[in-house]
């Protein structure tokens, strides 16, 4: 929650474009009102992540590079198409994380990175599996490795804490109280 609220405060102040008492105060009020009116009472809210600023920066930089590379690749596929470049394939990749946030960030990043696009996220008993659409020839093993590498980078930026995988998922899917053995932020 803290992460989210701070993010929101940053967004609010950024929108007004000036860091001053009025903007921060109104932002706090705004966020308080939002929490009251739209409480995230989903059990998911209890999932916490520890954010590592350095990891975030590293992830962001890498993401930007990936975006540039992928744009280049698509451009080549468009401008100078050949059989390899316009070949498509669908892979299923099982992630190791149990955090939906991590899974989502990974999935979104995949969409922005070279040659790949997440077409589905499947929740399995063991975690999340991504179905990825690849543009251009790819070798399955290294392809999976790339994605798991991406996941590691995301986890390094925001580490899920404290909640066993199955409990969280059970909580999400069946809306029951998850075991209280972790700290909630």
């Amino acid at each position: 929650m803290i992460v989210r609220n701070i993010t929101l405060l940053v967004v609010w102040v950024a929108m007004w474009g000036e860091l001053n008492v009025a903007n921060v105060a109104s932002g706090v009020l705004m966020i308080a009102a939002l929490s009251v009116l739209f409480p995230t009472d989903d059990r998911r809210a209890r999932l916490a992540h520890r954010v590592h600023p350095l990891g975030v920066l590293r992830f962001g930089g890498r993401l930007f590079v990936d975006l540039v590379v992928s744009s280049w690749n698509v451009a080549m596929a468009v401008v100078v198409p050949n059989a390899d470049r316009i070949h498509t394939e669908v892979f299923d990749v099982a992630l190791t994380t149990t955090s939906p946030l991590v899974a989502v960030v990974v999935s979104n990043s995949i969409t922005l990175t070279p040659g790949t696009m997440t077409v589905d996220i499947i929740e399995t008993d063991r975690g999340f599996a991504l179905r990825v659409h690849a543009l251009g020839r790819a070798e399955p093993v290294s392809f999976r490795e790339q994605i798991l590498e991406l996941e590691r980078r995301v986890v390094a930026a925001a580490t899920p804490v404290g909640i066993p995988a199955d409990g969280a998922r059970a909580a999400i899917e069946h809306n029951v109280e998850p075991p209280r053995d972790g700290s909630a932020s």
Binding site: A14, V74, V78, S107, T111, L112, V119, D120
Partner: protein
């Protein structure tokens, strides 16, 4: 200084616009809907970012800059969501009704 900034802006604008054109061409050149989504997502997003940065370089108020940064961040978050959902529905549909022709 301002010349450098101007040149940078010009370059970013041209790159951004060119990316948009490439994305547009990609919508036609690529073989199937999901491939075309690659074009619509990646170069287009980058194009938006380029243009936003270009505009930020030209702006003289911090307020505008933060707003542009915000716009960029939001673009990075929302663009893949839309693309993903579309791709997902197309994938699921194709799995349920395998295309018979073409």
């Amino acid at each position: 200084m301002s010349t450098v900034v101007d040149i940078a802006t010009a370059a970013l604008f041209l790159i951004g616009a060119a990316l948009a054109v490439i994305a547009g061409v990609g919508l036609h050149r690529l073989g199937d809907t999901r491939s075309r989504m690659h074009a619509a997502t990646k170069p287009a997003t980058l194009g938006v970012l380029c243009c936003a940065v270009g505009a930020a370089l030209q702006s003289d108020s911090s307020a505008l800059v933060t707003k542009l940064l915000l716009a960029m961040a939001l673009q990075l978050v929302t663009a893949p969501v839309g693309a993903h959902m579309l791709a997902r529905s197309i994938t699921r549909r194709d799995e349920q009704h395998p295309p018979t022709t073409s």
